[in-house]
Structures are given as C-alpha cells and as structure tokens.
C-alpha cells in the first residue's frame, strides 16, 4: 500500500473530518438547503415544512399472520397484534396496508424470484445475465434526489451472495432490493462506520471539491504559458470552474449557518457517535446502528429515500438472543421443524 502522506499543496485544512467525533443535530426541522445543482435558496430562519420521505426495510422470511395483524379503522381505534406491540405508541400515525400483490413474483419458485423484484414488479431473468427492473426507490431518487446531498441511501446488514439458486435465478436477486436499472443493483453499504462517514462528511461533494481544486491549479498554470489570445479562453475555463466551486461552498456555508441557528433555537434531540470500524458482533447492534443512521440521514435531510436490507431472503444470520438456535432461513421453513423447535420461535422473533 502506498504511503498516504504527502507534502504537496493539496492540504486539507478546509475539510472537516469527523473521525473519532460524533455529531449532534438539532430539531425542529431545519430549513431546506439547496445542494449541488439547485439554484434557489429559501430565506433564513423559517423552518420549512417537513418533506416527504421513503424508507423501505426488508426483513425476509415472512411473518406469522396469527401474530402480525392490525384491526380497526375509521372511527374505531386501531388494535395491533402481538408482533406489532412495540408500535403501540405511534399507532395513531400508522397506516396498516394488506393485500399488496406482486404478480411478477408468482409462479417463479421460492426465494430469489420473489425478492429481486419486490420494489420493481418486473419479471426477472434466470441464468447468468441479471435482468429485472429499476426499483421504485431509485426511480424516486432520479426525480427528487438532486434536492438533497445524497440522492438515496442503500444500506444492508448482510453481504450479498451471487451463486445460482436451484430455480436458476441468481442469488443476487435475494441479496438486493434496490436496483438502479434493469441489470445492476445499487451498491449496498454494510459497514455502519462507512455509512456514517459517507453521510456526515458529504463524501460525494468533498471528492468533487478535490478534483475541481486540482483542475483550477492546472488551468491557472496553463493560462500562464499560452499566447495572449489563448489566455482568454483558458481563463474562461478557470472562472467557470471557480464559479462552480464557489456555489458549492456557499451552499455548505449556508447549511452550517442553519445548523448553528437551529442548535441555538431548541434542544438537541438526537446525538450519534461514530460507529466502530468493522461489523458489529451482535446482529441487534448492527441492525440498530443502521436504523439510527437511516433516521439521522432523514433528520439532517441528507437524503429523503432509503432502503435497508436487514438480511437476505436466504440468510445465514443467527438470533441466539431469541433462543432460536437455527439460522434465519431454517426458521422460515418452520413447517419442517419439530414441536420442540417451534416452541422457541415467534412471536419473539418478529416482534423484535
């Protein structure tokens, strides 16, 4: 690995690094800040309306309909089944929808044929060439994604696998729910620390910054060498690049100012330390961290679209804390289990 130190003019004094630090973000809702690409800015000091967000969490294996249900509606109070008991406090803000149907997931055998098009509804192709459809979160991201720092957030708690299932569908379909087009899944971040860094440090725009800095240096240097007529042309490039940089900087400054203002106005309601490097030992910790990061992303308006794959649909994860000794997949095939094994199962699992 090459030595990362350098004594060149690419000093990073301008950059903020959050390694080892956490972040405190204040509520209420911060005014909407325009980002890369957008031109308009809302006036300072006025909290804007909370924008619409989309989050999709995938947990595989299905649910026990005897435990997972909701009753009531209209004027009747909502009643939740045992698996949904943890949502009791917020059920007033909840809609429970049943009867969703994905035609393309029927008649294709189990597992990948049914998961790969969960968010696209497109028929999947068997064999070596992946082909399905763009997922709806990515369609949304391409429409409204430019309103936020990151168009969408795609997280997961289990790495993808890519062999072939016995139905001849690729296991890739079991491993991803977000697809950026018909043939490619969106890369999924599985490491909480990296998801945190990328979000808080505005990785994307920082990388652009570095490139543009370098381009300006080169253009300035070339401008000094060329003939007088050419200088005007090179300077045109230089000023254009400078202008782009300036706008990005203005936006960042405005955002920081807004953060400061908001902090002064109200109590900080959400604090998160940077997660440790690597993957958490306990799956509970892993999933919790990813949910926190997702919430943080929404609260700070880094993105408005997120998906989280809690596990693959053919998962190898274990839940020993539930006294469930078998792997997730095995549990899903509960009809094959003995009486004793069954006793140790749901509702504990789905409730958690």
């Amino acid at each position: 690995m090459s030595n990362p130190t350098s004594g060149t003019r690419y000093q990073i004094s301008r950059r903020r690094f959050l390694h080892g630090a956490g972040v405190m973000m204040a509520l209420p809702w911060l005014e909407s800040i325009p980002v890369w690409g957008a031109e308009t800015m809302k006036p300072d000091g006025m909290p804007a309306a909370v924008p619409k967000r989309l989050a999709v969490l995938f947990m595989a294996n299905g649910v026990n309909p005897n435990q997972w249900w909701a009753k009531g509606g209209g004027t009747e109070p909502m009643e939740l089944g045992p698996s949904l008991a943890p949502l009791e406090k917020v059920k007033g803000q909840l809609n429970y929808i049943s009867g969703l149907y994905n035609k393309a997931a029927t008649g294709v055998g189990i597992h990948p044929g049914m998961t790969g098009n969960l968010l696209s509804g497109a028929p999947l192709t068997k064999g070596a060439e992946l082909h399905g459809g763009v997922s709806m979160d990515q369609v949304l991201a391409s429409r409204i994604g430019d309103q936020t720092v990151q168009p969408s957030l795609v997280l997961g708690c289990e790495q993808p696998v890519t062999g072939y299932h016995e139905t001849n569908f690729s296991m890739a379909y079991s491993s991803h729910i977000s697809w950026e087009n018909a043939t490619s899944p969106v890369p999924m971040e599985v490491y909480p620390s990296l998801a945190f860094d990328s979000l808080l440090e505005n990785r994307g725009s920082m990388r652009n910054q570095s490139v543009l800095d370098r381009v300006m240096d080169q253009a300035a240097s070339l401008s000094r060498q060329v003939s007088s007529t050419d200088k005007a042309k090179l300077d045109e490039y230089l000023t254009s690049v400078r202008e782009v940089e300036k706008r990005a900087q203005n936006m960042r400054a405005a955002k920081e100012k807004a953060d400061e203002k908001a902090k002064g106005r109200s109590e900080p309601a959400f604090a998160m330390a940077r997660p440790d490097n690597g993957l958490p030992e306990d799956i509970r910790e892993h999933m919790r961290l990813m949910c926190d990061i997702l919430a943080l992303a929404f609260q700070t308006d880094k993105t408005r679209i997120a998906t989280l794959l809690l596990c693959r649909d053919i998962s190898g994860l274990f839940y020993p804390f539930l006294n469930v000794k078998l792997a997730h997949l095995k549990v899903g095939q509960w009809r094959n289990l003995t009486e004793a094994e069954l006793k140790g199962l749901l509702p504990g699992r789905t409730q958690w």
Binding site: H19, Y164, F169, D230
Partner: protein, 1016 residues
C-alpha cells in the same frame, strides 16, 4: 455566378493600378518578396483611395448604406481609411462582388456609376486584397484555444478507453462558427453549467473502470458491485471460448486440401497455410493430420476413421469436389456420435444424504477436477459397449475375438480419446451433485456460465485443458490464462467463494458447521479469510468429518479444499498488494494518452501526489485512483486543444512551427475528429512528422482507417447541414407513416457512407454531384423502391448500388436526407432546397429575407388553385424578391419530382402533376437532376470546388479563412484539377500547407485577428 478570388500575380508590376485583373494567373506557391515597385504600393493605394474610391462611395453608396439606419445594416460611411477597409475583408469582398455583378447600386437607384468608375473601384479593391494577402502570406492565422467539441470528446473517449461510452449525450448542442463548423474557438465556449456537465461526464467514464493485476481497463457498463464485476469477467471468457473454431469437419477438409495440394495446383502450400485460410488452429490441424496418417492398429475407431479418410475423393479438374465437404461432415459425425459413449463419468464422492453434503464445495470441486483431467482419457469400457450400429458401417468397429486383437482395439480407442476430447472446454454446468436427469436438465436451462456447480454458492471452475493444450498457440494460451487470472482478481472470487462456503455449511449443508466448535467462524467476519482463521477452521472441519466416518478420497478432498483455498487466497492478497504500483503506472500512462503527449516529470509527480492526497483523506486505493482519473479527464490538457509558444524561440519569430505532438493532434482531429493513435505519436516522438513524405504517408493511412467516419459526420454533416438530422421531427408521421426512426437513421447514414467510401478510395469529388451510385440498407432501399443489392453487403447491412439513375438517385443531390431536411413536412420547398444547394454546396452568400414576407401554406393540399411553382413565380415578378430568389429557386424546382420525404413522385400531394423544369440564373433551361448537372458543369463547377476547398480548410484549421490563405487555396485548386479532382489531394495540400504546419507565437497581434476572433 462567379465569385472572384484573390490570387497573387507573379509580376509585381501587375500590381500597378490601372491593370485590372479579370483573368487568372498561374499562382506561385509562396509569395515572392516585395520589389521596389511593390513597396510604393501603400502610397499608391492611398492615393487612389482618395481620388477614386471615396468619392465613389459618397456619390453612389452612402445615401442608403449610411446615416442613422443603413440599409442591410451595412454602414459604408465609417470606412475613411485604407487600413479600415483592409481590416474588414469579408464585408468588402461582398461589396466587390455586388459591384462586379452590377447588382449594386440597385436598378432603381437615383444615380448609377459609369462602367469605368465601377471598374476602377473594383480593381482597387481587388488589388488591395491581393496586397493584404501578400503581406500576410506567412500568417498561420489566429487559431484560438478551444475545448473539444461534443463529437470530438465522444470520439476521444472511445479511443482512449476502447469503449464507445458517449459521455456527451446530455450536453447542450455545440454552436457553430460562421462557416458552419463546431470545432473552432470562434464559437466554442465554457460556462459553469458546462463545467458541471464535464465533471459528471468524467465521473461517468471513470465509473467504468475495471482494476486488473497489471493496470486497469474499461468495461462497456458502469462497474460498481460484485455483480457488475462478475458479469464483465465471465463474459470475456465465454466470448473467448465462443470465438474458437472447433468443428472437426473444417479440420478434415483442410487436411484433405493439404493431402491433395499438388492436385489443386498448390504444391508449395503448407499445412499452416491451409489452416490459416480455413481460420482454424494450425496446431490442432497438425495433430489431426498426424492421427489420420499414422500407422497403427487395423481395428478400432482410428482405423475406421483412417479408412474413411483414404476413401475421400481426389480433386477433379484441379478443384475440390462438392462431395468432400459432405464427406468430411460425415467423418465429424462419426467422431461426435462415438465419443460420448467412451466418456469418463464420475459419481459423487459421498451420497447425497451423507454427513458432509455432496453439494458442499469440497465434494463438488473434487468432482469437477476429475472431469477436467480426464477429458482425453479412455475409461476402458469399449468392450462392454454395443457398437453393432457402428460396425455395420465401419467393419473396423467390430471388436476382435482374440486377446491380441482386443488389445489393439482398445489401444485404438485410447488414441481416439486422446485426439478427440469429450469436450474442448466447459462453459456452463448444472449443480454437479445432482443425479436426477430432470433436475440436471432444469439447471442447464439456467445457463450457469463457468459456475463450478455448487448449491447456491458462487464459484467458478476452469475446465479447458483440451482447448489449451491441443488448439491454442502461445498467444492464445497467454490470453486465456490472463482472462482467468483476471476473473479471480477483478471479482474477488476466492474471498467471496470461501465466505459463502461458511455460510452454506452453517445454514444449509446438513448443518455440518452448526455445532458449537464452529461458532467463532462467521462468514461476515473480516478476519475469516486470514491464514490463521482458515487453518483453524480446516482443523475443526476435518476433525468432525473424520469422526463422522469420512475417510479415504473424501477426507483427502476435504483437506485439499482448505489447502487450495488458502493458497489461492494468499496469492490473491499478494496480487492485490502488488497491483497497486502497477495500477498507478497505468494511471500515468492513461494521463499520457489523454494529454496526447508525454508528461513532464513535474506533471507526473503532481498526478501521483494528488492520488496520495486523496488517500490521506481516507479514500481507498480504487476510489482515489478513480478520482485521479476524473481529474485527468477534467484537465485542460485533455479537454482543450491548445498550442504553446515554442520555449526555445522566446522573443524570436512571430510564426513558429507546430511541435510534432501538436501536429499529430491537429492531423488526428482533422481526419478523425479524435485523438492521435500510437503510430502518429511514434512519429511525433521520433521527430519526423514534419517531413513531407511522412506527413503525406500518414494522411493517406488515416484516410483508409475506419475512423475517417469522424470526418464524414463532423465535416460532411456540418458542411451539408444535416448533422442533427437524426433528431429531425418536422415530418408528419400520420401522413408519412413510413418515416420511422429506422428510416430517419438510414437517411442520415447514406451521405456518410458515400463520403467515407469516396475518401477511402481517393475518388473524384465531382462524384458528389455526378456519381451514378449511392449506398443503401434494406430500409432505405425500400424507401427508394430499389431492390437490395445481392452482393457485397457489408457487416453493417449497407451496400453500394450502381446505376442508381434507374431509380432517380446518384450522388448527394437526390439523397432523401437533404430533400427531407429542406422540406417543411407536408409539402416540398423548392426555396429551401434551392437555397441549400446554393449556400451549402456552392458556398454563395444569400442575405436573409426581409421581414413580413407572407407565408405559403404548409400543406400542399391547401394551396388552392395555384401550384407551388405558380406561387413562387411571384419571386420573379417582384424585383426586390427576384434579386435573391432568382439565384436559387430554380435549383429547388428541379427537385419537384421528389416529395417531402424524398420519395420519387409524379403528382404532388394535391394530385396535380409535378413539373421539374426551371430556368437557371444564366437564362438556360433544364429539367430534373440531369438538367441541374448540365448547368453545374457549364457554370458552377469551379465554385463548387472552390467552396469544398475552403470549407475543408476552415474545418482543418479550426478558424475562418483570411485573404492570406488564398495562395494555398489557389495552389490546391490547380493541383485538384490537374489530377482528377481527388479528395486526397485536397487533404494533402492542406496538411502540407504553411497554415497547417505553423502557429503564431502569441505576441501582440494586429486588429485583423481581433476582428476575426470577435466575429460571431
């Protein structure tokens, strides 16, 4: 109507006023040095200006072309000095033309100059032009630094990465300069919005990076996930296999030809020669040849084969009889039918319901290996088979009764299996542990490319030894090895495969790793692939397996698995570490090719320092390299075309030669609209690119190259104003449903094929007008009502059609693309078509129409009682209209035989018969294309040639022309007409011209250049 052009006259005395030049002199290549007489020129010009020209202007011009609202926005009253006129050559050329043609002052003016007065002023203007040309004869002109045009950017990325990525798809359309080309600093500019698009485009290109052990390459699609990487590496291997010619019939036929080479009149040809001609492996042909001719047992499959071989017919009349092909096919069928019967098969090491799953990687890999090393071995079962069917046809196939005979029989089978493997390679497998044929068949429908055949887990297995050993030459072997090595490296296969082994063993495979001793081994742990952890797992796994009764080969298979996985993982880690410096070198190489010249050591250091600074910001190696590549594509050295003053000549001459690298780029962007290739750069490095012989040879090579298509679209498309025809939307598709997107594309491509063909065979440029041929694909041929030619159809589906006059086609003029582009959609437009011919093809300048001209109905059916022709006749009656329309209406009327989408017609859309006759500007009459061609040769051929020369020169130089260019143009014209009007001659004249080979050093330039650069 002629346009005069300035030519320097040899004898300086002819510059003396009073000698008016209506006639051409043979021009010199270079301007002769001014003589004493010519040195008095400024005073003479000045004097004459005050005595003749200024009074003339005052008397006859300024009344309209002056004051507060000068007519046609031409204010002649401001030109009060000779210099002011000298600095505005374009306007004053126009003035001179109008005066010469007696179009100005207009007929209805109060006063008209006498013929003598007119002649005097015109002569003065002409002389002044000539003098300016002579003064600046050495001037390469101001060629502004400019960004790459969109098309140039796309082509450059295509040649830089090897993939046609088209990153400028969503860029705004480039504006054109006055001559209509978008490759000039006169019109190309930068803006913040465009910078952002450039950044997105650069990132788009870098997103296609694939990192390899020795550098990197670009995939045809963005590469972000493991799935993308799998797709890329697997496809390359499968494509390699697919390219191999492995039909035994081809080998037998080639062997036959070698056998009978004397009888075929090819006595001196070698076996390699016949292999090459048949496009099959010489190596394997040699082996087949040996096998067919060697002596051996008289029984068995080889004997049968040899007997059939000897029975093949001999040549007849020195030619190969048709039966040979069929017979060789039967030989092949014999082999292909027999071989599977003696294929070695292997059972699962452990039964399906054993402790260790038969679908486990350990077991499957063992099985894969058995098959892979036995593709050319004989399983020893021939004597147990019922080969009576074979024996009926080939008696040698009957097994002998005696022991000796049977030994020979089996020996023959052994040889048979060794020469003809049961498969040359395996490119897809079912799950290898399945025993039920239905399950196997179902898996095979999935086309699981290169898979090892595990259950659910990913993993590949290479099984191509027969191909490798029998067929491939050294280069082929190296390439295949490299592709497989890349597979592991690019897609991180061993890491992923091993992790998935653990996942599988813990969850699916009979829960082998469910017991407690395996709790510390998790597939998601980072250190799971470390040597320590891996060996711990191996010990635990083997222990349990052994305890459960796994022994012998199966236990050894388990042991081998862990040993092999460890070795592969260690070696891949090592390769990844070693790859980083190689990939950084590849980055420097990438920058070198992107900048089209060698990097200075400072630039090299700067690039690597940038990479290191990105690493310091905690970016990974691949991310940092990706961003460094983005910065290379954003650098002005890539996206701009700039010439620098030669360092050594500071304070020296104003005009300097281009550096060899600058010349290489100028050549390649001229002829290919793309970056220079390795051969051009080699000449630049050797410093001999300036030599005329080398230059000419390179130009010729480049005109033969397929990249000449860039000249067709960028020059041809812009010259003829159809560059954006593929977006043309003015045709009413309800009325013309045949105008599909396919037809539109075909229409656009027709002139491109015509152009490319003409350039490649160095044809006469008069073919553009006269050629009795064109190019069609099936869609266009149907539109033209002509049958698709039966022969010589290229791989792209296009073919040349000769004697196109049978279908009213031939040359550029009747091509549907021009007729459609210049029609408003529901009717023809003789005005637009004629205007196009005169302004584009002939290069004349026609001023814009006055405002408030009433519109003609857009639908031909709504013209009422008048035909289009009759409506347009108004143009002739009204004098102000006629002054312009008389110049071009006729050239559109002759095309009335073609409808709004260029279809041949005899009636217009309202049902009236069309008339294609017209009166041309010289008063002559003609009809249709033939009439136009007659007029063309009689009157305007010179104009056409001059226009083509000028346009190509503007395009090549990247700037508008100025008077000093006239020398080169005159020489070009002369060479062209002397040598059959070959396109290559125009190109050669341009690339060897002073203007092309030199640049301005960049000191203070005079006002001429300032005017040039600010013209819109």
């Amino acid at each position: 109507m002629r346009r005069s052009f300035a030519i320097l006259v040899v004898a300086p005395s002819a510059l003396m006023l009073g000698v008016l030049a209506w006639f051409d002199f043979a021009p010199a290549q270079k301007a002769p040095p001014p003589t004493a007489a010519a040195d008095r020129m400024p005073q003479l010009l000045d004097a004459k200006f005050h005595t003749s020209v200024q009074p003339f202007l005052q008397a006859y011009c300024v009344e309209c072309h002056g004051g507060t609202k000068p007519k046609a926005e031409l204010d002649l009253s401001t030109y009060t000095t000779v210099e002011s006129i000298a600095h505005d050559p374009r306007r004053w050329n126009l003035v001179m033309e109008r005066l010469k043609a007696a179009e100005m002052p207009p007929d209805d003016a109060d006063k008209q100059p006498t013929a003598a007065e007119r002649k005097s002023v015109v002569g003065w203007l002409w002389t002044m032009n000539a003098r300016e040309a002579q003064r600046h004869a050495d001037d390469p002109g101001v060629v502004l630094a400019r960004r790459l045009s969109n098309a140039e950017y796309d082509h450059t990325v295509r040649d830089l990465t090897g993939v046609d990525l088209r990153p400028t798809r969503e860029f705004p359309v480039d504006p054109a300069n006055e001559a209509g080309f978008d490759n000039s600093g006169e019109s190309l500019a930068m803006s913040p919005a465009l910078v952002k698009k450039y950044l997105v485009a650069a990132q788009f290109v870098a997103d296609h990076l694939v990192f390899q052990p020795d550098g990197f390459t670009f995939a045809p699609f963005p590469v972000a996930t493991d799935e993308d990487r799998d797709k890329y590496v697997v496809k390359r291997i499968v494509d390699f296999y697919g390219k191999q010619s492995l039909d035994y019939a081809d080998f037998f036929a080639a062997a036959w030809r070698f056998q009978h080479r004397a009888g075929l009149g090819r006595g001196s040809a070698t076996l390699e020669d016949f292999a090459r001609e048949a496009r099959i492996s010489p190596k394997y042909l040699g082996k087949v040849w040996t096998a067919l001719n060697e002596s051996g047992p008289e029984v068995g499959p080889m004997a049968a084969l040899q007997a059939r071989w000897r029975a093949l017919p001999a040549p007849v009349d020195g030619r190969e009889p048709a039966a040979v092909r069929a017979d060789c096919g039967q030989l092949r069928d014999f082999v292909v039918k027999l071989r599977p019967l003696v294929k070695r098969e292997f059972a699962n090491l452990v039964p399906n319901d054993n402790i260790v799953s038969s679908g486990s990687q350990t077991m499957v890999l063992w099985k894969d290996e058995q098959y892979a090393v036995n593709r050319m071995t004989y399983p020893g079962n021939a004597l147990q088979l019922d080969l009576s069917e074979f024996a009926r046809v080939d008696p040698q196939m009957k097994p002998p009764a005696d022991a000796e005979g049977r030994r020979s029989y089996e020996a023959s089978f052994q040889r048979f299996c060794a020469v003809f493997p049961d498969a040359f390679y395996v490119s897809e497998r079912p799950r290898m542990f399945l025993t039920n044929p239905k399950d196997i068949a179902s898996d095979l429908q999935g086309h699981r490319l290169l898979t090892a055949g595990f259950h659910s887990q990913m993993g590949y297995f290479r099984d191509d030894a027969p191909l490798y050993q029998l067929v491939l030459d050294d280069a082929g072997q190296r390439e295949l090895d490299r592709l497989w090595r890349d597979l592991d490296f690019v897609a991180d296969v061993p890491f992923r495969q091993f992790r998935q082994f653990i996942w599988y063993e813990r969850t699916e495979a009979k829960n082998f790793m469910m017991s407690e001793e395996f709790n510390s081994f998790r597939s998601e742990d980072a250190d799971m692939i470390s040597e320590v952890k891996l060996k711990q797992l191996a010990v635990a796994y083997e222990a349990k397996a052994s305890k459960q009764g796994i022994s012998g080969t199966a236990l050894q298979a388990v042991r081998d698995y862990f040993v092999n996985m460890n070795a592969t993982i260690r070696s891949l880690e090592q390769a990844k570490r070693a790859a980083e410096p190689a990939q950084l070198e590849a980055l420097v190489d990438f920058a070198t090719r992107a900048y089209r010249r060698p990097l200075t050591s400072a630039e090299r250091e700067d690039l690597l320092a940038f990479y290191r600074s990105l690493r310091a910001q905690k970016l990974g190696h691949e991310e940092a390299l990706h961003d460094a590549a983005v910065s290379v594509l954003m650098a002005p050295a890539f996206s701009f075309r700039v010439t620098l003053p030669n360092v050594a000549q500071e304070g020296g001459a104003e005009v300097q030669p281009l550096s060899d690298y600058e010349l290489a780029s100028r050549l390649s962007y001229f002829l290919w609209a793309s970056m220079p290739d390795q051969e051009l750069l080699r000449h630049a490095a050797a410093g001999d690119l300036h030599q005329p012989a080398v230059l000419a040879a390179q130009a010729r090579r480049m005109m033969q190259d397929e990249r000449i298509g860039g000249l067709a679209t960028e020059f041809g498309g812009n010259w003829l104003d159809v560059r954006r025809f593929e977006e043309h939307n003015a045709v009413d598709r309800d009325r013309f449903p045949q105008f599909t997107n396919e037809l539109r594309t075909a229409m656009f491509e027709e002139p491109m094929h015509f152009f490319t063909d003409l350039v490649r065979r160095n044809g006469s440029v008069l073919d553009f007008i006269d050629g009795d041929y064109t190019f069609v694909n099936p869609v266009l041929a149907a539109h033209y009502g002509m049958p698709m030619p039966k022969t010589a159809i290229g791989t792209d589906g296009w073919a040349r059609v000769d004697e196109a006059h049978r279908y009213e086609r031939g040359g550029l003029l009747p091509m549907a693309v021009f007729l459609t582009q210049n029609a408003p959609g529901l009717r023809t437009s003789p005005v637009k078509r004629g205007h196009w011919f005169v302004t584009r093809v002939l290069g004349e300048h026609i001023p814009a129409p006055p405002p408030n001209v009433p519109a003609i109905p857009t639908d031909e059916t709504k013209l009422g009682n008048l035909t289009l022709r009759e409506t347009l006749a108004r143009h002739r009656e009204d004098k102000t209209c006629a002054s312009c329309h008389a110049k071009f209406d006729s050239f559109g009327l002759v095309f009335e035989g073609f409808g709004p989408i260029g279809d041949v017609r005899t009636k217009d859309l309202a049902g009236r018969p069309v008339e294609t006759s017209a009166m041309f500007p010289d008063g002559s009459e003609g009809s249709g294309l033939a009439g136009l061609r007659t007029y063309f040769h009689a009157r305007v051929q010179g104009e056409f040639l001059d226009n083509l020369d000028r346009k190509l020169m503007v395009y090549a130089l990247g700037r508008s022309l100025q008077p000093s260019d006239d020398f080169a143009l005159a020489a070009m014209q002369q060479k062209l007409s002397a040598n059959g009007y070959r396109f290559g001659d125009i190109v050669e004249s341009i690339v060897t011209s002073h203007q092309f080979l030199t640049k301005r050093a960049g000191r203070q330039h005079d006002a001429v250049a300032a005017q040039v650069s600010t013209n819109p």
